[in-house]
């Protein structure tokens, strides 16, 4: 099966006055049709940067430094902006931005804001656009009257549903979801996850699901991609990461141990001391080594490559080669 999206050796750096921040540093992965890939990691490890890079809109001062992003076999990085707008962004890949539901403008109705997307990206007549909006509101479980409401009249869950509908208008193949449930309550979060599962089947979508919550990732992602300091440190299937043998990389292990579990009473929750490194001048060797309790000499000297440790399971740690 051909992949829908293939990211090869992608590098995207933010060029600040203090130097280049290596936010995306040599990332490789593929997204298959109908698959959900989860991106996890602490804040500042490059999850959102990777999302916006794939949409071909790195936030300034970010620029591509190397690599390719193949969407249906075509590298989108060298394409002119007009071409991207016409054929890629929202047509093939759309995104639900982090906090998008709180970025709806308070002065326009929901309907007008949804219409804006259609005006920008399609040539539909007004009445066609209106019926399309009603149709998609139905898919996300909202009544059609909502188009006349203003954002402050809706609950967080309803706003998020409207934002998700807007991302689906032009029948994209891939939807990037950046922390779509972070600001929502647990019950609403579970409802949104159910909705996403339903929509994925209905429209045969592929998702990139970005969150810092490993517990949530277990509910929705077929494969999990763990990022640390601009790099992928582990990539495995849902069963490989959450199964009985546990994850392979010490970072994933620590992250999972730090996730509070409702039905496991523990005396003390685990945490990862320290903070992710400065990406202007990342540590020599493995980037996690300063915070890793399993690090040995080699970890501080040489960077471990991402290797396949079992079929479909990649990890970047010197421990795998030590034994």
């Amino acid at each position: 099966m051909d992949s829908l999206l293939k990211v090869e050796n992608l590098q995207m750096h933010y060029f600040t006055s203090k130097g280049a921040v290596r936010a995306i540093d040599d990332i490789n992965f593929e997204l298959m049709p109908g698959e959900t890939i989860g991106l996890v990691g602490e804040s500042g490890c490059g999850k959102t940067s990777l999302g916006t890079s794939i949409l071909r809109m790195p936030t300034p001062p970010g620029r591509y430094v190397g690599g390719r992003i193949l969407v249906d076999g075509v590298d989108v990085i060298p394409l002119p902006e007009r071409e991207v707008r016409k054929n890629v962004r929202w047509q093939k890949i759309s995104m639900v931005f982090q906090g998008a539901m709180n970025c709806l403008t308070p002065v326009y109705t929901i309907g007008r804001q949804m219409m804006e997307t259609l005006n920008e990206h399609s040539d539909l007549s007004r009445s066609d656009a209106e019926s399309l909006i009603t149709e998609y509101l139905g898919y996300v479980g909202l009544p059609p009257e909502i188009v006349q409401r203003y954002p402050h009249e809706l609950s967080g869950g309803m706003k998020q549903r409207a934002v998700i509908a807007t991302a689906l208008f032009l029948k994209p193949e891939i939807v990037i979801l950046d922390e779509p449930t972070t600001a929502l309550d647990v019950i609403v979060q579970a409802q949104i996850i159910n909705l996403l599962k339903k929509l994925k089947k209905q429209f045969s979508l592929s998702f990139m699901f970005i969150t810092h919550d490993l517990a949530l990732e277990a509910e929705i992602s077929d494969r999990i991609c763990v990022m640390y300091a601009g790099k992928i440190v582990e990539l495995g299937t849902n069963a490989q990461i959450y199964g009985t043998q546990g994850p392979a990389h010490p970072y994933t292990e620590r992250l999972l141990a730090a996730t509070p579990r409702l039905f496991k009473k523990v005396e003390q929750l685990q945490f990862i001391p320290g903070t992710p490194p400065d990406l202007i001048d990342p540590p020599k060797g493995c980037r996690f080594s300063p915070r890793c309790d399993k690090a040995f000499d080699k970890c501080f000297q040489e960077e471990p490559p991402l290797i396949e440790i079992e079929p479909g399971h990649m990890s970047a740690c010197w421990l795998h080669r030590r034994g």
């Binding site: 602490e42 804040s43 609950s155 967080g156 869950g157 309803m158 309550d185 647990v186 019950i187 609403v188 979060q189 579970a190 409802q191 996850i193 159910n194 599962k197 339903k198 810092h212 919550d213 490993l214 517990a215 949530l216 990732e217 277990a218 509910e219 929705i220 992602s221 077929d222 849902n238 069963a239 990461i241 959450y242 199964g243 620590r254 992250l255 999972l256 730090a258 996730t259 509070p260 579990r261 409702l262 039905f263 009473k265 523990v266 003390q268 929750l269 685990q270 945490f271 990862i272 001391p273 903070t275």
Partner: protein
């Protein structure tokens, strides 16, 4: 000296909606008050961590504000350390605020960006006119920083807030409360904006401080999994009412109210094999507006187990199940039996 540090009795807070000019003259368009907190009672014991759980709109933050005395209650009473603190004069209020301190949710917005950490920590001493020379004050600041494990304190004192991570800021926020030797802390979602990897670290630090200084906490959150780890007792709030209250373990292992059950089922667990399951939650829709609280049991509109009686009969009061475990559901045991039969 009593066992209870804070006692809340039948506390209510109704917000009156705004009327426009025409309405105020004609008396027309009478809007209903927003019943944010609608008759709640609970006690917090000395040295206890008490958790208040609920969705947004459940009234948990309003309860926190009432306890902090940032807003005045509509009716009901509050006792702190055996004293009636429902209504306080200016002097008494200042004294109360010194004993009851607050940690806010957003560590990025709760500090003046133009204050160095030293100034952030000195401000409460100035406001509360804590006498002392510069040396004495510095000593207090150093001590507070050491308590929250910001070491070395001398180095942190000279930093600006923007130089600190979210976790470090929340430590400073904790130090700022400790500097006044409070008896109780109100923490409204203190870790919800902090990265998962450091969340546990902050909660652990707060727990250490609590044990060491014998403080009491009111911990307000929507996150049941941290509440289980962090709190001794939990009260679950729904639309301004407490629907279940008890020891944290009892509430989570043996929830009796259908709302608590739904909250627990909605929490994701990091385990494999859940991809193809669309988990049907035992709850309908979203929380209604507190201006329009349903008649009868206020949860009946969302409850899959509701009967005619739940709609018509007056609202159930909290009733005792086992030691310290109270619930407000008239069908609690029937539902439990039904669930058992269904397997």
């Amino acid at each position: 000296m009593t066992d209870t540090i804070l006692s809340i009795k039948n506390l209510k807070k109704y917000f009156e909606p705004h009327q426009n000019f025409a309405q105020s003259i004609t008396g027309g368009g009478q809007k209903k008050p927003i019943k944010a907190v609608d008759d709640i009672s609970f006690d917090i014991r000395r040295g206890e961590i008490f958790g208040l759980i609920g969705e947004s709109g459940s009234g948990k933050t309003t309860t926190g504000k009432l306890v902090m005395k940032l807003i005045e209650p509509t009716s009901g009473q509050m006792f702190f350390d055996g004293e009636d603190v429902t209504h306080l004069g200016k002097e008494k209020l200042k004294e109360y605020r010194r004993k009851v301190q607050m940690i806010f949710q957003d560590p990025y917005a709760s500090m003046n960006p133009r204050f160095k950490i030293r100034d952030v920590l000195e401000e409460p001493l100035i406001i509360h006119k804590v006498k002392g020379s510069i040396e004495e004050r510095t000593k207090m600041i150093v001590q507070a920083l050491e308590e929250v494990k910001l070491i070395p304190p001398d180095e942190f004192m000279g930093r600006w807030p923007h130089m600190l991570s979210g976790g470090q800021r929340q430590r400073v926020a904790t130090a700022r409360t400790l500097i006044l030797n409070p008896m109780m802390l109100v923490a409204d979602e203190p870790v919800s904006m902090i990265d998962l990897s450091t969340r546990a670290e902050i909660l652990h630090m707060m727990k250490e401080v609590q044990k060491e200084l014998g403080l009491s906490y009111l911990y307000i959150t929507h996150d049941l999994s941290t509440a289980r780890y962090f709190t001794d007792r939990i009260a679950v709030m729904y639309l301004g009412r407490i629907v279940e209250i008890g020891r944290a373990d009892d509430i989570i292992d043996n929830p009796l109210h259908p709302y608590t059950q739904a909250l627990i089922e909605a929490v994701p667990e990091p385990a494999s094999g859940k991809l193809d399951i669309v988990k049907e939650l035992p709850i309908y829709g979203e929380i209604p507006s507190p201006a329009n609280i349903p008649q009868g049991c206020r949860f009946h509109t969302r409850c899959p187990y509701a009967t005619e009686a739940c709609k018509r009969e007056p609202e159930p009061e909290l009733s005792l199940d086992s030691a310290e475990h109270y619930h407000a559901c008239r069908r609690a045991y029937e539902v439990q039996a039904e669930k058992k039969r269904a397997g």
